[in-house]
């Protein structure tokens, strides 16, 4: 024990360390004076470094992934298959985002060094969250993610909206962190440990030996769930989301919209399932309420949006609600023989939902970034009018992403909804399932509206033919692959579903 305290097993955290070192290198090489513009060569170097950091980190994770559960840093840092899988996907998502954002940053004179460094730092925060087995690193990762995201939002500091969005994000994020910390401190008070898996054991043991005083536990739990809902962007804790999505520069919005959802999902899973599963009956009810309110508010309000970023923000709220459905039906109330199997399949449905949502969202924002020019953000719905005439290919890609998010076959979003609904019906929550499908009908409307603009409306007079030729080929190819993945996973969803199932089966 003593030895391990002195010298923790750094090898398990090696990918994170690698990422940190390269992130610092990006910061170092990115330093430049405000007066001179960044040279293209330096830009290329910084992007190459950042991509190296992510890809290297991903490879390292793959390399040392052995499916074994291992702890290090005094049981604070957990290494298991779930962590590896989610970290891999976070790195991949960030890497794709960097490719999509590159041109946008160059055209807007946003300093690439700062942007990439902060983005890598937020990635590091997510990786720490995913691996946290202790309240402390969990909070550490969360703050690293939040603060660097906050700076990312404000990076375009000449725009008042961006600064405003950053302020909102910071203030509300701090409030959410406060909620979370307060809840965790209460739970610490009852269980006497900060270790997530230890909390569960303490609670079970207490319940077995001396009878459990549920009041402080549930009281703390309410705060924890509220904090998590803030981070997930689930209603009624969603107020920050639309303004922040809208105000932030599009690449920062993309970063907020994609990878952190994976991290937040992991945090929810680790805390609620890993730490508080003896209290499942309580938090499942809370999640149910959150899920229904999120789907309702998200889908209803999205209909009224004229700004695509705001629309996607409300759609994100609705999607998080749908994802929560899978989490709140996982553990059946009477422990039957196949209970574990049911729970695992429910959580894997939720995980599948998050992953497919991230895949589609990244693509939708990618199209937005591809269309945008200096002084033209392509974030109003009317900016998409007649896109099919100007660029059938781009319109088709956007249509694929929209249809997938609307949950229509043969796109992956359909099977995500199908899998989650399956577990909801399996658990006997017919009312929840009914609400979910009713709200998806609402959702279909606003996604179709984007298609209406692109396909049914004529291009406005004098609109430039979307110059796909002027965009870097890497971005075009990647966006096409992204859409292809959405379509192909929609036809063959089994592989990814099976991976989600296996990962959760091994890890819990």
């Amino acid at each position: 024990m003593f030895a391990s305290f002195l010298l923790p097993n750094l090898w398990l955290a090696a990918p994170e360390i690698f990422l940190t070192v390269l992130a610092l290198a990006v910061l170092f090489f990115g330093i430049h004076s405000e007066k001179t513009p960044v040279s293209p060569a330096r830009r290329a170097l910084l992007f190459a470094l950042a991509q190296c950091a992510l890809i290297g980190c991903a490879f390292w994770i793959l390399l040392e992934s052995d499916g074994q559960r291992a702890l290090t840093f005094s049981n604070m840092f957990l290494h298991d298959l779930l962590a590896d899988f989610l970290k891999l996907l976070i790195c991949a998502t960030m890497s794709v985002i960097f490719v999509y954002s590159r041109r946008h940053l160059a055209e807007r004179d946003i300093p690439p060094g700062e942007f990439l460094f902060l983005a890598l730092l937020s990635t590091l925060g997510m990786l720490v969250i995913v691996s946290a087995n202790h309240f402390l690193p969990l909070y550490l990762g969360l703050e690293m993610l939040s603060l660097s995201s906050c700076a990312l939002i404000a990076l375009d500091r000449r725009r008042a909206e961006a600064t405003e969005a950053a302020m909102k994000y910071f203030a509300l994020g701090a409030l959410a962190s406060g909620f979370l910390l307060y809840g965790l401190s209460l739970l610490y008070g009852v269980s006497g440990t900060l270790e997530i898996s230890g909390v569960a054991m303490e609670i079970s043991a207490k319940a077995y030996t001396e009878g459990l005083d549920r009041l402080p536990l549930v009281f703390g739990l309410v705060f924890v769930v509220a904090g998590l809902a803030f981070k997930l962007g689930a209603a009624p804790f969603h107020m920050w989301l639309p303004d922040v999505y809208h105000g932030a520069p599009t690449p920062a919005t993309l970063i907020l919209a994609a990878a952190p959802k994976i991290a937040a999902f992991s945090m929810t899973l680790r805390l609620l399932l890993g730490g508080f599963f003896p209290l499942a009956a309580d938090w499942q009810q809370m999640l149910m309420v959150l899920a229904v309110i999120s789907m309702g508010i998200g889908n209803f309000v999205a209909i009224a949006q004229e700004n695509v970023k705001r629309m996607l923000a409300y759609s994100a709220i609705a999607h998080m609600g749908f994802m929560l459905l899978g989490l709140c039906v996982g553990i059946p109330e009477n422990e039957t023989l196949g209970a574990r199997q049911i729970a695992v399949s429910a959580y894997s449905a939720s995980m599948f939902y998050v992953l497919t949502y991230v895949l589609s969202t990244v693509g939708a924002f990618g199209v937005m970034l591809l269309l945008s020019r200096k002084g033209f953000e392509a974030d109003r719905l009317s900016d998409y009018a007649g896109l099919n005439q100007r660029s059938p290919w781009l319109a088709a890609l956007m249509m694929i992403f929209m249809l997938s998010m609307a949950g229509l076959p043969f796109f992956v979003g359909f099977f995500a909804k199908f899998a989650v609904l399956g577990t909801v019906v399996y658990a006997g929550h017919y009312g929840l399932a009914g609400a979910a499908v009713a709200f998806s009908l609402l959702g279909a409307f606003y996604y179709l509206r984007v298609i209406k603009y692109m396909y049914f409306d004529a291009a406005p007079e004098g609109a430039s033919p979307a110059g796909l030729g002027a965009t870097p080929w890497g971005m075009k190819t990647l966006l096409t692959l992204n859409a292809l993945a959405v379509a192909l996973l929609g036809i063959f969803p089994h592989a990814l579903l099976a991976v989600c199932l296996t990962v959760l089966d091994v890890s819990f």
């Binding site: 099919n388 199908f418 019906v425 049914f456 089994h494 579903l497 099976a498």
Partner: protein, 491 residues
Amino acid sequence: MPPAFLSFAIWIPVAAGLVVLAVGSRRAALSRMLALFGALAGFLVALPLYIGFDATASRFQFGETSSWIPTLGVHYALGVDGLSLWFVLLNSLITVLVIVAGWRSVEKRVSQYNAAFLIMSGLLNGIFSALDGALFYVFFEASLIPLFLIIGIWGGPRRVYAAFKFFLYTLAGSLPFLLAIIYLRVQSGSFSLPDWQNFPLDHGTQLWLFFAFFAAFAVKIPMFPLHTWLPDAHVEAPTGGSVVLAAIALKLGAYGFLRFLLPIVPDAAQEMAPFMIALSLIAVVYIGLIALVQEDMKKLVAYSSIAHMGFVTMGIFLCTALSLEGALLQMISHGFVSAAMFLCIGVLYDRLHSRQIEDYGGVADVMPRFSALFLLFSMANAALPATSGFVGEFMVIMAAAGKNFWIALAAGSTLVIGAAYTLWMYKRVCFGAAASEKVRALSDLSAREFALLLFLALAVLGMGVYPFPVTEATHTSVAELLRHVTTGKIP
């Protein structure tokens, strides 16, 4: 292993559609040729289904089963029986006709237009041949997308409204159906339709499943109070869209009744039959009267479609061998007749860009060949004996007479109302004085249009005189279906 003709019939048109899409609209001539080639290939691979079909067997034929999504328990299971065989054939054929019909009249985004029809053709074949509930649903919902785009892109002035109404109406109907599918899977442990047909269900469950199925399929047919999307969709859709909508898409609802509702919830179906028959009679009489007062030709044919589909649902819920076969025959016949009617209206619209009846008159003087064929189709729409329209309606009326005189009487009124609205429209369009100089300058059918309509005319007459090939194929499957319905399945 025999060739997977059903898979070919689904995926060859889809693949052809993607190829056409890739060719792009700049090379319009090439994309048209490729589309025609793809549609013909799709029809040719569907032909062996008819040739190799064993009409004496009630089991599913040309079956293909493989595991598709094991994690969700979904199989890629295909097969046809007497109920679905003709729809696959009809759909593959109509696709060819639609591509040919759009040859000259569609000039905007040609390749997207043809691709949408090809992809939809494949998806519709998938619906008719799916034997797995989830697979059926996937095709069922996916087929909305191409039709939504067809109405919205190539449609008339109110196309956006019509496209959204069509999409959201049908989606709203199909979502309860989705829950029903998942519920059945949870209860029975499989998505397989044959399994569901033998799975016992208690009365209350059957009743709510009935309404879930009803929501999806009654909207699609459409049945009386849920029909309001159809006139809008028809009026705004381009000719090809109307043809596919009337000839194939409406049949999906009735097919769903035959494939899901009757065999899976037979007791609820029996219980609700009087209600359904009442709704069907309202469709036949009331919607027929509405058709009478229409000023727009397309709207008139749209309402007449609803009335004809009322006959189909009545035949289905009368639930005798005669009425079911009559309903199936009526569906196939309506597929030809409504396609022909919409093509005829399309021919006029291409020339004058109007569908208002009052803008025409005296067309017979300037377009004799067209008027002759149009008359034949109008007669078939009014169910004149020796046309295909007559046989099915006659069988359904006979079956109704066997049950209840008054039902038969009300149903029989359609022979009068149908003749009235169709022939009155024909009279106002083709006879009398020309409404304007433009009408007097109309040119008769081109060789392409003539061939198209002549082909349909032969089909309509052929089915009217010799319906045996259709009834032969359906006979055994209908008997099997009736066996399911009459035994019931309350445990």
